[in-house]
């Protein structure tokens, strides 16, 4: 039977809840994934696991995209606006032309990029 990445992630999250020592559990988990030949879907499993953990902690997954390389101070000024429970990822996306785009849980976004403004203007 083929397991979906979501199933793997759920199983791992559930077993980590009870475990005292996490290390052997994680190594067993990796062995299991290898045994089932699902190494390719490992990034997807990780993504699903991340979502489960963030949800469990009551936070949000926040993706911040900058049009150009941002300074430490700039990143800090934005990230400190969010709670500790949130998972924050920053990345560079030149297609935004200028500005910042923030996505919450892949569901909602706050798009302050020039690309979006131009798109809206010429729609």
């Amino acid at each position: 039977m083929k397991y979906s990445p979501k199933n793997y992630a759920l199983a791992l999250a559930k077993s980590l809840e009870k475990a005292k020592d996490e290390k052997p559990l994680i190594s067993n988990f990796l062995k299991l994934v290898k045994k089932n030949g699902d190494q390719k879907s490992f990034p997807k499993i990780l993504e699903a696991f991340k979502k489960i953990e963030i949800k469990k902690n009551g936070g949000s997954q926040i993706k911040i995209e900058f049009a150009r390389e941002a300074s430490e101070a700039q990143i800090k000024s934005i990230t400190k606006k969010f709670s500790r429970k949130d998972w924050i990822e920053t990345s560079l996306n030149p297609s935004l032309v200028a500005g910042v785009r923030i996505t919450f849980d892949d569901e909602r976004e706050l798009d302050g990029s020039l690309n979006r403004k131009l798109h809206k203007l010429f729609k």
Binding site: R108, D111, G112
Partner: protein, 509 residues
Amino acid sequence: MAYDIIEKLKKEIEGFKDDAEFEKVGIVIETSDGIAKISGLSQSLSQEILTIETESGDVPCLASNLEESSIGAIILGDFEKVKIGQRVRQTGQVLSIKVGPEMIGRVVNPLGLPLDNKGVIFDQPEKAEDYFLERLAPSVIDRESVRVPVHTGVKAIDAMIPIGRGQRELIIGDRGTGKTAIALDTILNQGKDSVSKPAICVYVAIGQKNSKVAKIVKVLEEAGALKYTIIVSAPASAPAALQYLAPFAGCAIGEYFMEKGGDAIVIYDDLSKHAQSYRELSLLLRRPPGREAYPGDIFYLHSRLLERAAKLSKEKGGGSLTALPIIETQLGDISAYIPTNVISITDGQIYLESNLFYQGLRPAVNVGFSVSRVGSSAQTKAMKKVAGRLRLELAQFRELQAFVQFASDLDENTKQKIERGDRLTELLKQNDREPVSFEKQVVALYAGINGFLDDVPKDRIKEFEAKLVDFLGKMHHEKVLGAIQKSTELSEETEKNLKSSLAEFKKIF
């Protein structure tokens, strides 16, 4: 002009708000063969239009599968532009088509875009009405029973399998048996029908060859039938999504004319290919396959489409929408899955048989298997008078025909019945694209069932009919043809006149 454009743009720039706002967004997580799987947009509606922001512009798609954590969408535009990671936004609009009388004479695709190089359809698009592709069928209260005929111009059909306005009559048969020819004759005859007001025809081509559609357009154009016809085309080269939407678009266009109080006829050519395109989409959307790999809702797909055909009550304007779906069978197997489904949904079927076609009986209607469940109440009185006896004579003829092969000695009465049956069958033969008006059908059939053809050689029946109609038109138009046309009845006086003029004609033939 340039000044106007700049002024307009200036105004837009001045009034442009650049505040970033929270927006709902989805992300393409999977895409293949015209299908996209989208995460997010949990508030999306079923059948809502979503737009995928691709590098070369927005591509519309249709939300079809609303799942727990994702949406399965059918891409309506160029699906090769869609890539994983692209953003998707809601439009809040459910799939609809712009309709209006400007569409008459045009060839459009299922999204209402012109395909005939005649320019834009609507000069003022804001005046055109939006009609949803998926709509509820008129309720029981809004309907009334079928009572006005649709004259197809085909003698065998108008006499024995009559169709009424608001009826759903299936045309079924193998490939190359003349299914489309009957539909085309029906369209051509609408321009000639003098009994009731002309109907707007919508011909929906689903998965047909482009050459066939072009040929049909040419035939209609040459006959002047494009003046009241709209063609919705989703050819074989169009993606399955458009083929799936085509009949719904055709139906929406027909509904517009119905709700304006007019009559419309929609021809779905053909629903077998429609079912196949829906099967393709359903399998790509990973819906569970059922019999012959068709999805579980294939019956509902066709029933909800055909149920929209109706004759509206006077309070609702009294319009009508007649549906003529076409089904192509394989080796005459009408008990396959899709044919049985559509047979059970419709109010009767016209069954075309390849054997009859090759015997030279054209249109190759198998009168025994064909029925019309509601049309007889819409038949004109004149036609009813001749059709009742015609059906009986032909039924008896079919029964006796079997004996002919075994017995050589037949009594005079049987021989006569067979002779007459032979002649009546000959009389029902008709070339395609030559629809006959109803009053001419009545006089020809009257001559047949009353023995005026008994002494005419079989190979001269066609000539007899043509000359008779010509004779009546020239010599007795007012008394016979005109009288039937006006009153739609065959009154005693008209019958007397017809009899005497037939006798007169026989003398000179």
